[in-house]
Symmetry: C2
Subunit: 335 residues, 2 copies
């Protein structure tokens, strides 16, 4: 099955590039609200499921045991830009579990935000594991390991108790089996499991609506969504899509990007969960698709609409600030 064109990138009067993709919108009973394209094909959710991966940390009571703040819980769901506040909060999480950045197994990279990387370089410093965009999730894993009484060492491996616990939470929520044959290694070295988009969307519908899950899981889901809504800077960073969208919408929309053009979302007031992928892995396409689905399903006031429309149809400017093109979704998606 050929996935439909969902996003066009124009320059002058011509469509310069086009993105195809697939979308699943599911309600909390598992009913299909919308599908576009081949939604049976398995998709690696990558970082789009970080909030679900954080559930055991909160549901177990370990987040409370260590006194994790809302900022810290939001960072556990983050693909952050490596700005100073992100690194600071990750360090604080680790300190609460009696650990430091040397036990993080995510690897080191320069901050994703260029300005933050240049500022770090200008100060004569080098990046540490704390600047890795996944450091908050990994700090959460360390807290989980310590709280469970496990040695954190090797916590990124599929057979470690931490990953077993996280995998079990994902299987419970999505209803999809997470087996070795559909696994890959993520950028931060933990396993990622490819599952169909409707299963992912179903997981997020339950996460958002608190339906079809245990009271403990519902309570943890609510806590995580509220923490992210209060601190949308923590889950991404300056100028980033997820931060801007959740700054505008608060608890009305939980959205999270994953690498290779994936997005997951929950619209709690409708009980909808969403999962989508741009075939080619393009982040710009996935973002426009996500914003278009917010416009399609949520009733927005003028302020909210202004922010989301800018995200759905970004203007492309060149190095002199001239408008040279635009990204827009096709009618299939906007309808």
């Amino acid at each position: 099955m050929d996935n439909p064109f969902l996003v066009e990138v124009s320059r002058g009067h011509i469509v310069e590039s086009r993105h195809r993709g697939s979308v699943a919108v599911v309600d909390a009973e598992g009913g299909t609200v919308l599908t576009l394209g081949d939604v049976e094909r398995r998709v690696f959710p990558r970082s789009a499921v970080k909030a679900l991966q954080a559930l055991p940390l909160v549901e177990s009571g370990i987040a409370d045991k260590y006194g994790l703040t809302d900022e810290e819980i939001a960072l556990a769901c983050a693909s952050h830009s490596g700005e100073p506040d992100h690194a600071r909060v990750a360090a604080s999480m680790l300190a609460k579990a009696g650990q430091n950045e040397t036990c993080l197994e995510c690897g080191v990279h320069w901050p994703m935000r260029d300005e933050a990387a240049r500022a770090l370089a200008a100060s004569g410093e080098q990046p540490t594991q704390l600047h890795n965009n996944c450091s908050g999730k990994h700090a959460g894993f360390i807290c989980l390991a310590c709280g469970l009484g496990d040695d954190p060492k090797g916590y990124v491996k599929a057979q470690h108790h931490v990953q077993q616990t996280v995998r079990s939470a994902l299987e419970d929520l999505t209803g999809a089996s997470h087996t070795e044959d559909v696994s890959g290694i993520d950028g931060c070295s933990i396993p990622t499991y490819a599952i169909p988009l409707p299963a992912l969307a179903f997981g997020f519908a339950k996460f958002g609506a608190g339906v079809g899950i245990s009271p403990g899981c519902k309570s943890a889901s609510d806590r995580i969504r509220k923490a992210v809504a209060r601190h949308p800077f923590m889950v991404a960073g300056t100028g980033r899509f997820d931060t801007k969208l959740m700054e505008a919408l608060g608890e009305r929309a939980f959205v999270k990007a994953g690498a290779e053009g994936v997005y997951c979302a929950a619209f709690p007031e409708l009980g909808y969960g969403i999962a989508l992928k741009a075939d080619d892995g393009g982040a710009r396409a996935a973002e426009a698709m996500m914003a278009a689905l917010v416009l399609r399903f949520l009733k927005l006031d003028d302020n909210e609409r202004g922010v989301v429309e800018d995200l759905a149809q970004p203007v492309l400017k060149n190095w002199n600030g001239l408008e040279v093109g635009r990204i827009r979704v096709t009618r299939d998606l906007a309808a």
Copy 2:
């Protein structure tokens, strides 16, 4: 017409993302060697035609009048990484025409190579127009304007004598009309004209083989190809695809990337010209496609083959250096 899948990106045992695209390979008489996908669709060549845009500078004798070196002529064809040597050579070109960077109208951005941007920041400096990846092309335009006796001011505008001259050269070589209705504004503010891939490929076939063009144009084409083959660092930079490929193959393959997943190339020994585009604009796809076409058409020795195979099937590693996936072209392209 649906363009075929030409590139797959795998993770674990699963194809995570896929790129479609179109390809035209044409000989110097305009005969079709290979087409894949819809090749009648117009494509903005963007920076892939910089070498053709540099022809008037050389053919007019202005490059010689100002004593431009091979390094400088190579930089006129470049989308460079903003490394110190790139900025130095751009400044030298301008000085030879009695100008400096303040007359460059390409805009300012931090060096494309992160290491170069961080080094600049660490030294307390800010980027100038010289660090713009197009500064060499623009310095060439300034030389052309000065050599023609024109005021360089406004040289990026379609109606300026420089752009008229460049446009005329592109029309002569490709045989395609470059009109307002198919124009867009490029990242560096000059006009770019969307034309079908076979016309682009035909232009590069003539550029490579020196067939079907005037003796002056042939001489200028030879000079430009030799200059780039001698200084492949100048057209791109450290670790970049074009630099690595031409370091290995020298004059056997002229290749040049354009933004939004475009590549153009000439294989002079076969008289072939190539133009391709990844539908979604993905550079990783365009690079793998270009490398696959080198493997398909050119007889390579073991050293050459080793370099090109690595470019055609790059291994994807995560932040810990673990192999997590691979990019590979499909059978349609590799055949």
